[in-house]
Symmetry: C2
Subunit: 578 residues, 2 copies
Amino acid sequence: MSFTPPVNAIGYLLRHGVRLDDINSQGEFEEASPDLLDAILGGAADFARDVIAPTNWDGDQHPATLKDGDVTASPGFKDAYAQFVEGGWQTVSLPSEIGGMGLPSAVSVATNEMIYAANMALGLCPMLTSSAIKAIETHASETLKDTYLPKMLAGEWTGAMCLTEPQAGSDLGPVRTKAEDRGDGTYAITGQKIYITWGDHDCADNIVHLVLARLPDSPEGSRGISLFLCPKYLVGDDGSLGERNDFRAIGLEHKLGIHGSPTCVMEFDGATGYLVGEVDRGLASMFVMMNEARLFVGVQGVAIGERAYQAALHYAHERVQGVPPGHEPGAPIIDHPDVRRMLIDMKAKLMGARTICFATAEAADLGDLAREGLLTPIAKAFGSDTGVDVASIAVQVHGGMGFVEETGAAQHYRDSRIAPIYEGTNGIQAIDLIGRKLRRDGGEAMRALISDLREAVTSVKDASGRDDVDLSVCAAAVERGLETLATATDIVLNATEVDALGVATTYLELCGKIVGGSLLAKAVARGLLAGDPQSAAMASLARYHALRIMPTADGLLESIRAGADAVYDFPRDQLADL
Amino acid sequence: MSFTPPVNAIGYLLRHGVRLDDINSQGEFEEASPDLLDAILGGAADFARDVIAPTNWDGDQHPATLKDGDVTASPGFKDAYAQFVEGGWQTVSLPSEIGGMGLPSAVSVATNEMIYAANMALGLCPMLTSSAIKAIETHASETLKDTYLPKMLAGEWTGAMCLTEPQAGSDLGPVRTKAEDRGDGTYAITGQKIYITWGDHDCADNIVHLVLARLPDSPEGSRGISLFLCPKYLVGDDGSLGERNDFRAIGLEHKLGIHGSPTCVMEFDGATGYLVGEVDRGLASMFVMMNEARLFVGVQGVAIGERAYQAALHYAHERVQGVPPGHEPGAPIIDHPDVRRMLIDMKAKLMGARTICFATAEAADLGDLAREGLLTPIAKAFGSDTGVDVASIAVQVHGGMGFVEETGAAQHYRDSRIAPIYEGTNGIQAIDLIGRKLRRDGGEAMRALISDLREAVTSVKDASGRDDVDLSVCAAAVERGLETLATATDIVLNATEVDALGVATTYLELCGKIVGGSLLAKAVARGLLAGDPQSAAMASLARYHALRIMPTADGLLESIRAGADAVYDFPRDQLADL
């Protein structure tokens, strides 16, 4: 169960799907020169393949264990994580002022995809550290920053997010964990948190928890929640580790997948916490990391899909069964048209979702908040749904072997299923898309995106024919797809709230198909115009997307026209049975 | 994790989706009077809910175990199976001449759905017995029939199918298991079989294996394989059980799902076997049970989807999170439009797939072999794909709880994933559909189906408006859908072999959506005309299907137009990376 990341395909999209020149010319980032990019992508690919990927199966088969409040990670994880720290992989996209490599987010989308694909469960740990760093950097006091950030940047200390409670999941308003001001600059945190990813483990010297809790005199609901930093081990003024803080893992969830990621129930028993940001503004402080975390969950979907795809491809090359038409006996199943279709379908779907992730990072790097905000829920939901879809097809390519755990295909299928759920379910993403991102600004950000993509049609037409590469079907599909998207957008903008909510998920799926296919065609056009020799193969992927994926958006538009009436038509009290 | 089958909805489709009068008037079956139907469906629902369903979670958590060649089934299975035998549930659709209840297959589709939903892993055991009975009844000698059938009909002895070997799965041609004629009317069977469902267990006194093997002088490939009956315990002339036969389970697979179903590696070491049917015609003898087994796998998809749906519905009624628009705080998540959409989407998809299963059984009951043959691959593949789709949505409704195993939603998701794989992968079904069922007869059977469904549009229009129930959107969607289906059919009929194979799966999906939606509308029209008071609710399901599911077939048609060129366009040697 080895894994080699498709570094050329990822690099192609990074070079031609992202306006790196514009990002570089801003001066905010370290210059992402072609040579540096090649070195970073190649290094990440080697690291993912050689160090991280070999731990994946062990993590699945031997989940983390909990004993006396201490969690021990899966076999091999501690060593692999130590090499992650040593390689400085935590710092790729962190600003150089605070010790990061200072590269654009788009580059870390590429490197993180490879690491998530190698071991999604392990990759979650640095993802959470990165989110915690963002929150601390933006909202914490200078003292807290000085004390915690250097170790976290290095990856020596990891981060964890303590948000969810049994009654407070998608809606964090009902958080009940208490914080009491001790009057000495610290707070006593008491309560129980669930679903705490990497809430405890033995891979790092310290774990920095960011905890949502409520002060005694704070208002009810989401405007009365504050954010606190609770380190596993208290830190002295000289940076030395002191005594254990008063919170512990008291349970580990038995999950469908990502077994290697310890999902903890955490009990806070008067733990020492430090306020981060303003009192009662905890949820707002969390928002700063929300976009990034959501984007990276979308990247996880693509990543796990890619790993599943590579496994299916490998199997299809090895397995002999029946004689494919036009072939001799002994030809592998990849030569059966339906198997070949499954493979190219997976690859095209992944590439479409990947372009959306890159475009989201590009918007963040360019400081285009409206575009970033608009694309983030699409990247998260469409990327994660694509991961599940592709992982399921990969099981299918394996036939009976796909259902047997030892093959490994089933693990990817199980692992992939979390991404549509955490960091805001995909239903929440769809509501965010049609509400905050679309209807709140009257569709301005979406119209700007459509307009940009319409302009891209011109470049697709210009590039078509160059080096004998035909993109005419792409130009036609993008033009038609953007019409469909514009029509769907108008419907959602003019709908009642309930109608809009009733079609939100369908609208998001439509966006994912059209935007992904359009961005892919646009990237290929740029690559062709730049003379990139890999453009011919990429063009055929874009054509597949244009011919077989984008057209399915039309049916979704019909479904959107139906509104919520169709949803509410059936009597609620007969849903169990007539 | 209780489960109550939706007996009213299933009964509605059985009454109005199946021409029971025509089946009854044939005289081949016991009269399926309304009262008898009610009694059977009610009894099956009670049995599924009270006896079988409580074993489901234990089966998942405590798979069967193997010790010294003997398999012990999951806790509770032996008792539950004993009650299955006692209730005579094995015999529902078996002919009365051989001791069955003699009811139409359509009725056993209904009762089996409930049993599969209650515990799919356990339900597989009688399904295999049923298939083995069919093969023995059709092809075995009178002596074998007299010896084995009575006990199998009672369910006291179960059946198992030993087909697959490591190199012979979808293609059984390369079967290598040997059979040697002992000259005394028996054969010595030697070889290894894998993926043998319920190949050994302790729930029955004897297990009757049907084994594919090759005689020494038989030709290579699929025309040199014979079928043998190998009982676990040899049976004396007086019907008494004798010594253990020379084959054993030597391994159990560790699978993604259906943990309660022992999937055995069976080692035959000169086991005693009896020829069933003619020498070298073993595969043909297997075909007799193929249609039935494939239909019932489609039913399993619907069944596991229904169980997952019911669990999601229950959770959606209980869980409070956020305040749904237009509701007071404390309203459960079912009142969020996107959750309500997920629920009705699941229900409508299940109902569409269920109508196809019933129509397939109806064709079998009416002796319409062409129709049965055409619908079987659609029932199998579309039913099983629907099961996976619905089980995944059900996980999503549960949010984070869906990813935690103890909730049970994850089990349905895992269990459902086998149905698209076994009894011929869904890719094989699609190839069967476009090859043997469509192109071989020049599209005659499909045109007959389309023609029948077009006639149904008239009845849908006639019924619309009755009792204030509007079916006009259904009539329009069915008309348009049948146009789409006819166009797609012409494309596939006129395509090259490779083009047809490259779009086979897409064509099958299109068929499933259009045929399912059309049959559903037709059943509702019949129910309305018959004055069934449940028709109003069913009509709203049909409208949802017409508005939000059938229109997605248009995009599939576009994809079919693209043919296999799009599939083969991307260079094979760059599939791993550019």
